[in-house]
Amino acid sequence: MGYGIAPKVPLLYPALIVAAGLCTPAYGQSNKVRITQLSDVAFGFVAGPADQQISQNLCIFANTSNDTYSVVATGSGASSAFELVSASDRLPFDVQWSETSGQPGGTTLDAGVASPAFTSNATQQSCNSGPSTSATLTLVLRAAQVDQVTAGSYTGSLQIMIVPN
C-alpha cells in the first residue's frame, strides 16, 4: 500500500515592507489671511491750515511662509478713487499703511494698486493672543484740499483687501 505525500503549499506570511529612507506624511495648506478690528472714521469739522489725519490699529494675520501680505485699498469715488462726496463737491483723502501698529503714518497707497509686501507679527487670526494689533491704517485730509471745497457734509467708504504675498 502506498502513501501520498501532501504537496507542500507555500505559506504566505504577511510581510511588512519598510521602504528605505524616511517616510513622512504629506498634506496641502493654502495661504490664509485675515483683517479685523476695522472702525469707521469720523473726522468731524475740518479746516486748515493743518492737515487732518486719523490712525487706527488693525489686526492683520497672514499664515504665509514669511507672514507677508499685500494691501489693496479702493475708495468709493469715481474709478475707486479715495474721495468723500457732498451734495456738490468731492474731497479727496490719502490712505497710508504701516505694518507696525501705533504708527502716525506709513506707506501711501494708491487706489486699486497692490502695495509692496508687508510682514505681520500677528500669531492669531483675530489677534486674540499674542500682539493685540499688527498694523496701522491712517487717513489724511489735506488742508489744501479742504480749503478748496464747498462747505457741507462729506461721506465715503474705503475697502481694504489683504492678499497673501
Partner: protein
C-alpha cells in the same frame, strides 16, 4: 483865493477778519465697518465722514493815504480786494466799522475828527458801490473768487471805496494829519 493844498496823512488800515460759521454736525451712527474673514484673501471696509464749515476770507487790502489833498475836490480811494466764500452759493455779507466813537467812520487828530464814507461793490475794478453803515451787515453778495486768496482764477473779487467829501476836507487845517482804522468783517452765507 485859491486854497492852499494841505497835506492829509491819513492812514486807514482795513483789518480783515474771516468768520467761520459751523454747519450742523454730521451724525455718527454705530460702527458700520465690516471685518474680513479668514481666507485666501480677506476684505474689510469702513465708512468715512467729515464736515467742512462755512468759511470766508478777505485779502488784498491796502492802507489808504490821502496826501496833499485839494480841499476843493472830494478825496476818493478805490481798491480791488479778494473776498472768498466756500458756501455753495459763494455768498457773503460785509460789515464795516470805524475807529471813531461808536465805531464811526472818522479820522482823528486829537479831539478833532473828520468823517469819511465807505462803499462796497461785489465786483472788482469799480469806483463806486453800495454805501455801508458802520456795524451793519450788507445784504448777501456773491463772490467770484475760486481760491481763498485769489491766487488762481480771478485776481480780485470786490471793490472797496473810501471817500472824504470836499466840505469835510475844507474843515481840516493845512499840514495836519488825521488817522483812523477801518475794520471789515466778511461773513459767509
Amino acid at each position: 483865493m485859491k486854497h492852499k493844498p494841505h497835506h492829509i496823512n491819513r492812514m486807514v488800515r482795513a483789518a480783515a477778519t474771516g468768520l467761520a460759521v459751523a454747519t450742523a454736525l454730521t451724525s455718527v451712527g454705530a460702527n458700520a465697518a465690516t471685518q474680513g474673514t479668514l481666507g485666501a484673501t480677506s476684505t474689510g471696509s469702513i465708512n468715512i465722514s467729515a464736515s467742512v464749515a462755512n468759511r470766508a476770507r478777505i485779502t488784498g487790502l491796502s492802507d489808504v493815504t490821502f496826501a496833499n489833498q485839494d480841499p476843493a475836490t472830494a478825496a476818493v480811494s478805490a481798491q480791488n480786494v479778494c473776498v472768498w466764500s466756500n458756501t455753495s452759493t459763494r455768498a457773503y455779507t460785509i460789515t464795516a466799522s470805524g475807529s471813531g466813537t461808536g465805531s464811526a467812520f472818522t479820522l482823528a487828530n486829537g479831539a478833532a475828527t473828520v468823517p469819511y464814507s465807505v462803499e462796497w461793490n461785489a465786483a472788482s475794478g469799480q469806483t463806486s458801490g453800495a454805501a455801508l453803515s458802520t456795524g451793519t451787515a450788507s445784504g448777501n453778495l456773491v463772490s467770484t473768487a475760486t481760491q481763498q486768496m485769489c491766487a488762481s482764477g480771478p485776481s480780485s473779487s470786490a471793490s472797496l471805496i473810501v471817500r472824504i467829501g470836499a466840505a469835510d476836507l475844507s474843515t481840516i487845517p493845512a499840514s495836519t494829519s488825521y488817522t483812523g482804522t477801518l475794520t471789515l468783517l466778511v461773513t459767509p452765507q
